[in-house]
Structures are given as C-alpha cells and as structure tokens.
C-alpha cells in the first residue's frame, strides 16, 4: 500500500549461499602463509553479505598473492604481472552490478604495476584492492621487492638491500583523489575481516595494505610484530575500522586518528616506530570515474543507430 510494500521482492525465494559456495580450488599456499587468512576473510565477507558468486569477480596479477582468484568459486581474472588494475577498471567500467576484489602483491603493485597503481587510485572506481605485502617476491623465489627492508638479503641482493623501502601507504596518500586507505595485519583475523569489510562497503577505490607473513622467505619480518604487539599501533576513531573493545585490548598501543584528516594520515603513514593498523584515510566525496563510464548503459539498439546515423550524415555530400 502507498508504494511501500515490496511484495514482489519479498516473495521471491531467497537463495542462501554458504561458505562452501565461495570456496574454489584448495589453496596451494605454504602452511602459515598469511594469504590463507585473507582468503578466509574474503570468503566470510562474501557469505555474510550474501554476494552471488556469479556476480563477484576477483582480479589479480601475478605472484603468490595473485593465485587468489583460483581459490574462490566466483568469476576470476588471473592476469599479467603488474596489470591487475587496468583490467579491474575495465571490468568495472560497464558493470555497476558486480562485486569486485583486486588482489595484488608488493612486486605486482609497487614495482611493475606502479603506473597503474597511481592512476587507479585517482580513477577511484568502485574496487576493493588488497595489497598482500610480504616484503619479497615469493613466487619467483626470493628477489628483493620495493617494500623489502634495508639490509635484507635476497637472491638478487645477496649482500643486502641498499635502498630504503617504498612506503605504499605514503605513496597512495600522495595521489590525488584517493578515497580509502587502510592497513591491517593477517595475524589478527577480526581486524583483518573488519578492515576488508569496511573497504568493501566503501564506494570508491579502497586500498588496503595487508602485512602478510611469508613463512618461507621472510618469516622474521613480521614475527617480531606478531610477538611484541607494541610494534603495532591500533588506530581508533568512531569513523575508523570498528573493533570489539575486548579485541582492542590485544593492542597495547592505541592512537586516536580522524580518518578524514589527510595531513594527519600522511603523518601516521610515515611514522616508522610501529606499524599503524586501521583506517588512515577516508573521503566519501572523491570523484568517481565509473559514474562517468556507466552513462549510456542500456541504450536501445534504435537509439544507438540513430546516434550513428546522425554522425554519419555529417559527412554526406
């Protein structure tokens, strides 16, 4: 009555997807690899939000991280090294109805894919980007990555890395039109889940850097932070990543940070004493390129032909 009763939709039988419906092939990551936690979190999120698997697309590049799509029973695009972002933008450009996740790694995103990284942040199309940062090239067996710490040894730098690492958070926060930048850790599943969920819910490009353990090549890197939680600072704020008060107590260090404050976010990103974990920046009003690209969807054949005819006629003699 009065246009408020959703009789039609309410009566359509609901389809209930279980966790199994999102589970694809058995993951081949090493035991203890942080990627497992991310996969579980994303599958849980899909189940909690009841995302139809046929409407969900996971796009990745190349790397350990980028095996991700094969382990989800949704549509996937396992693409080229460094090139997940332009593909994801193309997929989104005419499909407002799809739920999209983009999985990338520190080499994939911050080395070969840098150009696309910068511009995809700026396009701010509705994407959820998870950068699985284990500070190393894992799949190709132990080469230095742009985020590898100073002094770390690898196959390409046996005497130790001589350059300070790139800070993906600072770089992303330096790009115009950035709209959502967060960092989380794979060894705290509730925080990981809440961050990914907030990223999914944000309309725009959500960039989440996941500090991801690699037991095979960089087991020492995050082991310290895992044991001594003082090396991690939990960002708190009512507009930030929500976390149960009981779970907040697992983090001895807290910092109140307003995610709308870009300058403060940049400060948080660049501080080196500990890993900031939580939402660094959020801007709901950033321009969205996909809202532009969606225009004209659904034009009928007649309308298209009329437009083409009109342009063609300008050349008539």
């Amino acid at each position: 009555m009065h246009g408020e009763r959703r009789e039609w939709e309410a009566e359509a039988p609901l389809r209930q997807c279980t966790l199994e419906d999102y589970q694809g092939a058995t993951p081949r990551w090493c035991p203890g690899c942080g990627d497992h936690a991310v996969l579980s979190a994303v599958q849980r999120l899909a189940r909690d939000k009841q995302l139809p698997p046929e409407k969900t697309v996971v796009v990745s590049g190349i790397g350990c991280s980028s095996r991700f799509p094969h382990y989800m029973a949704t549509y996937g695009f396992h693409g080229l090294h460094g090139r997940a972002f332009p593909v994801a933008c193309g997929v989104r450009s005419r499909r407002p109805d799809l739920h999209m996740f983009v999985i990338t790694g520190d080499g994939d995103c911050c080395a070969i894919g840098t150009a696309h990284w910068i511009h995809t942040i700026r396009y701010n199309m509705d994407l959820t980007i998870l950068l699985l940062d284990n500070n190393i090239y894992g799949l190709t067996k132990n080469q230095t990555s742009p985020t590898t710490h100073l002094g770390e040894r690898s196959n390409t730098h046996p005497r130790g890395n001589v350059l300070p690492p790139l800070n993906p958070l600072s770089v992303t926060l330096g790009v115009a039109n950035a709209s959502f930048v967060a960092q989380t850790i794979d060894w705290n599943p509730p925080h990981l889940y809440n961050t990914i969920r907030a990223a999914y819910e944000h309309k725009g490009t959500s960039f989440v850097r996941v500090l991801q353990r690699c037991p095979h090549f960089t087991s020492h890197i995050f082991a310290e932070a895992q044991q001594d939680m003082n090396l991690v600072t939990l960002l708190t704020h009512e507009d930030g990543i929500p976390l149960d008060p009981q779970l907040q107590r697992l983090f001895p260090k807290h910092q109140m940070h307003d995610p709308h404050d870009l300058a403060a976010a940049r400060g948080v990103a660049s501080q080196e004493a500990s890993y900031p974990v939580g939402l660094l920046y959020r801007n709901e009003n950033a321009a969205r390129y996909d809202l532009q690209t969606f225009q004209g969807l659904g034009k009928s054949q007649a309308e298209k032909m009329a437009a083409t005819e009109q342009w063609l006629s300008r050349f008539e003699i």
Binding site: G24, K55, G76, G90, K304
Partner: protein, 618 residues
C-alpha cells in the same frame, strides 16, 4: 575558350602553417565530390607544430586528385600547384611532386617585398622554376586580398578557391553556399568578406589564367559520404555497437579517438584515455571479459607495448578489436608518415605461439566496414582481431557510398542467462576449436580466466598433452576461418607474366600501375589481400598461373644489387616473407619507404623493369 577535357588532374595547394591551405583544399575536394568526381585527398603536413614562415620544412596544405571515375590513390606528379610563397613550393619539389609542365601559381607579393633578401630569393626561385620547366604564373594574391581584408593571411585561401573554381569550370553556387555555411558562426560580415574574396579570385582567373580544364563527371545518384580513414574507423566502431574504446594518444591514430570522444557517448559508449598503452589494452580486455567486445586504437610503437596483453587475449580467448594505424618506423621513426611495417610484429610479437586474426582494409570504405566484421569475428572466434590501417588511409579522403546502418551490425545485448553447468568455459569443439564463453553474471559459469596453460575448465594445467592440445585448438580456429574465406579476386587476366601482390593502402596505386602496363599490352595482374592472418585461400593456385610473382609494399626490403646483398643475405619485405614461407613459391618483392604514398608511375616503372628483365632472361 572552352576548357580542356581531362580524365583526372592533380591539384596541390601549399602555404605556411595557418594560412588555411588545408581548408581551401578540403573545400575544393568537397566541391569536386559534390560534382560527382572521384577524389583522393592527401594532407601535406609540416614537420613541426609551428615552423618558421617561408621555409621548406613548413609547407602545409593538400593534394587533391580529381577524376572522372573513382580515384583510388594520390597519383603521380601534380598538374597545378598553388604556392603562397616560393619556399614552400620547394618542399613539394623535393618530394618529387612536380614534373616538367606542371603549372605553378605563386603569390608574387614577394617580388615587391620591402626586404632585399626576400626579393632576391623570390627572383632566384622563379628563375629556377622556369629552368626546371614548370609553367610559372605569378598571381597577385596578397594584393588582391588586401582589398577586402587587413590581414591577408586569413583570406588567401578563399581567393585561391575562387581561382581554382574558375580554372576547373566548377559550379559556383554550391561553393558559395558552402562558404556561407562554414563561416556562418563568425557573422554576416565575415561571410560576405569571404564571398567577395572568392568572387575576386574567380574573376582574376577568368581574366588572366590562360588554361581551363574540366574533369567530366556524372552526378551521383546514391547517397555518398566523404571522410578520412580514421573517421571511417571511428564510425565503424559506432556502427558495430562497440561501447568501450580505450586508447592512449599516439600519432597518427589519435584523431579516430578524438572523433569517438565526441560521438560515442551519444551511442551509449565512452572513450577511456588510459595512463599508458598497456593500461589501454588491459582496460579493453577487462571490459570485453565482462560484457561486450571493446576496441583499443594505437600505432606501431603502441602495438609493441601491447604485445604481452595481446598474447594474453589469445591464450585466454578474450574477444577484442585492436586497431593499429601504422606509421613510419622503426622505433619512433616518422610519426606522421606512411609505412606498412607492422605486419610481422602484429603476427608474432607476443611470447610463444599467438595465432590471431588480422585484417587490412585497402580503402577508406573498408576502414568502416571491417570494424563491424572484426567485432563479429572476435566474438565468434573468441579472441583478438587486429585491423591494420596506415597514415595514408588515416588522413586521405575519398567518397564512398553511404553505408546503410543495420541492426544486425550491432553487438548483441550481454548474455546473462544461467550457464549450462555441464559445459566447461573452454568447450573446444574437437574439430573447429571454437567455443562459447561465459560472461560474469551468468550463474553456473564461474571460472577463472588465466594466461597460464589451462584445461577445458580453465584450471591451470602443466601436463604436456594438455599444452599440445590447447595450442592446436587455438591454431585450428585460424584454419577454420580460412576455410570460410573466398580466394582473392584477380585484377586483370587470370594468368600472365607477372602477378603483383599487395595489402593495405597500396591497392589504388598498384592497380593503377597494373592498368597502365596492361594498356601497353603487358601481361600483368594484381591481387590484394584483405586477410593477413589467416590469409585468403587459393593463393598457390593463383600464383601458379603466372610466370613471376612479386609483392609491392611500403616497408623495408634489401635491394637485390646492393653490396653484400646475396640471395641468402637479402631481407625481403614483410608480406613477401609470409607468402614465400606459406606457398614455397619464389616470390620476389619491391618496396620503398619514402614516407609518402608511392606514385603509380614509380610502380609501373619497376614492373616494366621486371618484365623486361624476365623477358631477357628467357
């Protein structure tokens, strides 16, 4: 006196940048086209964006070839060249565009220029032109124009247009209408000024120009359009119902995207300017994967960057249309010049075996229609289809029958019905290798696209049997397409002494050269390929009917007599290499890379030389 009837004439108008020679040329071409003449226009582009005035490198303008019948190429030497200063005329001389007897109309204002140096150079040039055998006419263009406009730079082109109208005995009224329409936005006063300039030029020519010509023509009965190749490609994109065009700026391809940037939105699509060439093709592949086939437009250097993604599209069988408007290479080469040097790169540049469909339109009309075919083939054969155009087609203008748009040409609505789960995402037909693809949104069709070797289910598979089979399937598709193509048409007799094979924009000049020689009684024919991968069938059979076969192309090949060039070390031109390897016929080649279209007479000379040589050897 009554005008001389000619079958075709070539007119060039050159000036410094910004003097409107191109507008004059376009309007003249338009007028002739309206008259029913065939035309072929070529832009004369200066090397720099703002070159100095009165310099050889700064020539800007048009060459218009007007014919009684359809005109298919830019022709040989010009019959009339109008130069607003004598220095730009030299650029045309350097390009070999003139011959003894060419009428040269020069603005004689420079004869009375206040600067000594200018007057001296002018006098020198005029003397030189006479020595070269040109018929020099010094016209008071600037002084006449000053009667109407303070800044004669803006009026000379209209005056010249009037002059040409008179020389070619063309109907004034439609030009006057055209002028009125073109300058309507600038107001009554400007329109009147231009009309006056036009009238003056016309009157001057009637009074002072001794020759008059007419290129007879029959008024067209069917609707006709005139446009350049890039515009035709762009309109083809729209007519094919393509909604996503992804590009990065690169000469000479960009004007097609500019057109689409204006027009495609009205047809429900959009142009994406990506951050680089790789992003452009990545974006297009993403869009294709998620729905309707997309297009990406580039040139040679861009193609080089796109090769990894092209290989991905072949491996993952994603439909895509890739338009390459070739330019002078190698490397940055000659961005605005003509060459067809990317054929082998298009075929082979991706890692491993990447069979893909390649089409090459030979005329501007084909630029339009081939996009429609390309989209359909991309979807049916599930992979990338490349269209190789070049700078000649991109900027040349030619009339052709106005296409009658059809709904059948448009891409179908995106299929979202549930996918039959018993059918895998790569259900290769055992004989044809063809399969249908699920599109995200189709329930039951979920699969992960990958560039890794994969099986039918798109699961990563490293087994050798699977790798062998899947490569076979992807290759098979090309054979299947070939089985559905017709053998090419032979221009000329079905058998003879010499067969010339070409591809791309050389169609017109090759056929004109062949016709020239046939007129001389020589037994020469030509064949022009539209499909380069797979190639049209029946070539070996056709070749067998000719004593000798050669290709004529605009890309590099070693000339046979040069030092160190032996039968073993000689590098052949690109189509010749392909034909030799696929037919095992000892096909020769002749190619030039001048950056400009090869004149028919040059080809004819070479063909004569070959025929004579062959006769001597027999």
């Amino acid at each position: 006196m009554s005008p001389t009837l000619v079958d075709q004439h070539i007119v060039e108008i050159v000036s410094d940048s910004g003097e409107g020679a191109q507008t004059c040329g376009q309007m003249f071409a338009d007028l002739c086209a309206r008259n029913g003449n065939g035309i072929w226009t070529v832009e004369i582009i200066p090397a720099e964006i703002e070159p100095p005035s009165r310099s050889r490198a700064g020539a800007s303008g048009n060459r218009i070839r007007v014919g009684s019948q359809a005109v298919t190429n830019a022709g040989d030497s010009a019959d009339i060249v109008v130069a607003l200063n004598e220095q730009v005329l030299y650029s045309r001389i350097d390009a070999g565009a003139l011959r003894r007897g060419t009428v040269v109309v020069v603005d004689k204002t420079w004869a009375d220029h206040p600067e000594d140096e200018t007057r001296r150079r002018y006098a020198e040039a005029i003397a030189d032109f006479n020595l070269r055998g040109y018929f020099v006419v010094e016209a008071p263009i600037e002084s006449e124009c000053r009667k109407h406009a303070d800044d004669p730079k803006k009026g000379k082109n209209m005056w010249v247009l009037g002059m040409l109208c008179a020389i070619y005995d063309l109907d004034q009224s439609s030009v006057r209408d055209n002028i009125a329409k073109r300058f309507a936005k600038k107001g009554e006063a400007i329109v009147r000024k231009n009309l006056d300039l036009f009238a003056d030029g016309y009157a001057w020519a009637l009074a002072h120009f001794q020759q008059r010509f007419r290129v007879p023509a029959e008024k067209r009965t069917e609707p006709t359009v005139v446009m350049n190749g890039n515009q035709a490609l762009a309109l083809g994109v729209m007519a094919a119902g393509i909604e996503v065009c992804s590009m990065y700026p690169i000469t000479p391809a960009t004007s097609a995207s500019h057109f689409l940037a204006n027009a495609l939105q009205e047809a429900g699509g959009f142009v994406h300017q990506a951050e680089d060439e790789i992003a452009a093709i990545g974006f297009a592949i993403g869009a294709s994967y998620a729905g309707k086939t997309a297009v990406t437009i580039t040139s040679g250097p861009g193609l080089a960057l796109k090769t990894e993604f092209l290989g991905y599209a072949v491996m993952a069988e994603v439909p895509l249309v890739v338009i390459v408007v070739q330019r002078g290479g190698p490397s940055t080469g000659l961005p605005t010049k003509i060459e067809q040097g990317d054929l082998l790169a298009a075929l082979y540049a991706s890692p491993g075996d990447s069979p893909k469909i390649i089409l090459a339109p030979a005329t501007i009309e084909e630029c339009f229609h081939f996009v429609i075919t390309a989209r359909k083939l991309a979807e049916d054969f599930r992979g990338p289809v490349m269209i190789l155009s070049d700078a000649n087609l991109a900027t040349g203008q030619q009339p052709f029958p106005k296409p009658q748009l059809q709904t059948d040409w448009l891409a179908a609505p995106v299929e979202q019905a549930a996918w039959n789960e018993s059918i895998p995402p790569f259900a290769w037909d055992s004989e044809t290798g063809l399969s249908k693809r699920p599109i995200p949104g189709q329930r039951g069709g979920e699969y992960v696209l990958t560039g890794l070797a994969h099986d039918e289910e798109s699961h990563v598979a490293y087994e050798s049997a699977i790798n062998q089979k899947t490569m076979e399937m992807r290759s098979r598709k090309l054979a299947v397409l070939q089985s559905a193509l017709r053998p090419p048409r032979v221009h000329g007799e079905e058998s003879g002494d010499l067969l010339v094979v070409g591809w791309g924009s050389t169609l017109g000049c090759i056929e004109e050269a062949v016709d020239l020689l046939r007129g001389e009684g020589r037994r020469v024919s030509s064949v022009h390929l539209r499909f380069l991968s797979p190639m049209e069938p029946g070539l070996k059979t056709i070749f067998a009917r000719f004593r000798n076969v050669m290709t004529v192309e605009v890309n590099y090949s070693d000339p046979p007599g040069a030092p160190f060039i032996t039968a073993e070390s000689r590098r052949y031109s690109q189509l010749a290499q392909l034909l030799r390897s696929s037919t095992l016929v000892d096909i020769d080649c002749w190619s030039q890379v001048p950056g400009s279209p090869i004149p028919p007479s040059r080809i004819a000379a070479e063909l004569r030389h070959r025929l004579d040589k062959a006769e001597r050897e027999n």
